[in-house]
């Protein structure tokens, strides 16, 4: 499985509001589809996403079956100090994915 794709600016100024883009590989099976033999395909989605900036949660989202496969979520935050951005996704069937990236604040 592909590692999550995280995109943040290379460098930001203190106080600057910048965008964080995230993309993970996940089928997001809705649970509302039927196979060609008429059987319901069980739900298998990512249900939760959160982002922490140097340990403090700055964003979280509850995801529903309506979110497209390979979920893309982009949001903004304010640059405080340099450090680590940590991302976590959880979902059905024990799904759990994490990613980290560094942010340089000058």
């Amino acid at each position: 499985m592909a590692r999550p794709l995280i995109n943040v600016p290379a460098k930001v100024k203190r106080g600057q509001v910048f965008e964080i883009k995230t993309l993970i590989s996940h089928i997001m099976e809705t649970g509302f589809r039927y196979s060609t033999t008429g059987k319901r395909i069980p739900r298998d989605i990512a249900t939760f996403f959160s982002c922490s900036y140097n340990g403090e949660e700055i964003f979280r989202a509850d995801l529903y079956p309506a979110i497209s496969a390979n979920p893309f979520i982009a949001f903004f935050t304010t640059a405080t100090e340099s450090g680590k951005l940590e991302f976590k996704w959880t979902g059905d069937n024990g799904f759990s994915e994490t990613a980290t990236t560094t942010i340089t604040v000058e």
């Binding site: 590692r3 794709l5 995109n7 993309l23 590989s25 497209s68 496969a69 390979n70 982009a74």
Partner: protein, 272 residues
């Protein structure tokens, strides 16, 4: 009797079937042999995309296909097989060694005495050079490698097929393109040469060029190969699709690349 409202998919499909029948009657009524699109009127499927789909393709950081390209990069550098060899061990940096490769595939294989596509070429490397098992068609790994290799040709024009040995196979692909198929009994040409730009039910008929493959198809919600798309086309015509790797599929790929010569490679593209 089905009392509940039909699903939009069922309605759409019935409308499509009705439109197809109308088109069939038109086609039977009086057209001459379908003609090639004039070279200067050819357009990539990109031109038909909505604003947001175009934006998805244009930006690698939001294009879901990038997930496969990154996987492909990992696989490229991974030693595998009894030979314990990575693609990189022979081919080095893909950005240099693979530049232009996808733009000239399918290519003639002396061993096969016929054309092979990029997927088959990758598998030949796996079996002959890496002593590894071939990757199944449409598997995530094969798609990832094809996307990674194809990505190195992005922006380059599809090459003119200058290899004389390919000519009979291009002709075979052309014959298939112009042949009525399936229960719907339409040829590729009747929609994609004669009626591109028009609509069938709610869908715009594209010219059907292969310049973006493998593509992230919104319908599949996944990356997929040209052969997968061709099989979808044949199922659309209610014809039995050719198996993955069948010579008919490769000849069709080859003909489509010839038909799209000069168009820019967009791999990995986004398409509906």
């Amino acid at each position: 009797m089905n009392r509940s409202a039909p699903s939009p998919r069922a309605v759409g499909r019935r409308a499509a079937a009705a439109a197809m029948t109308a088109l069939l009657l038109l086609a039977v009524a009086g057209s001459a042999r379908p003609a090639d699109i004039p070279l200067d009127q050819r357009r990539s499927g990109y031109a038909d995309l909505g604003r947001d789909s175009k934006a998805m393709q244009d930006d690698d950081t939001v294009n879901p296909a990038t997930l496969w390209v990154l996987d492909g990069e990992t696989l490229w550098n991974q030693k595998t097989g009894l030979a314990n060899r990575a693609c990189a061990d022979c081919h080095g940096d893909a950005a240099a060694s693979m530049k232009g490769v996808a733009a000239r595939y399918p290519a003639f294989s002396p061993a096969r005495n016929g054309p092979i596509d990029l997927e088959q070429r990758i598998n030949l490397c796996r079996t002959e050079r890496q002593q590894a098992t071939p990757l199944p068609f449409e598997s995530r790994d094969l798609l990832a490698l094809t996307a990674y290799v194809g990505r190195q040709s992005r922006g380059m024009p599809i090459a003119e097929a200058s290899d004389e040995r390919l000519k009979p196979f291009i002709d075979a692909g052309r014959k298939l393109f112009n042949q009525r198929l399936g229960q719907i009994n339409l040829s590729c040409a009747q929609c994609h040469d004669d009626n591109w730009g028009k609509h069938i039910a709610s869908s715009l008929v594209p010219q059907g060029h292969p310049n973006g493959y493998p593509i992230y198809r919104l319908e599949w919600q996944s990356l997929g190969s040209l052969q997968r798309r061709l099989r979808n086309c044949m199922i659309g015509m209610r014809a039995a699709p050719y198996e993955y790797g069948a010579p008919e599929n490769v000849n069709m790929e080859l003909f489509l690349m010839w038909r799209a010569r000069g168009l820019s490679i967009e791999t990995p593209a986004v398409r509906p």
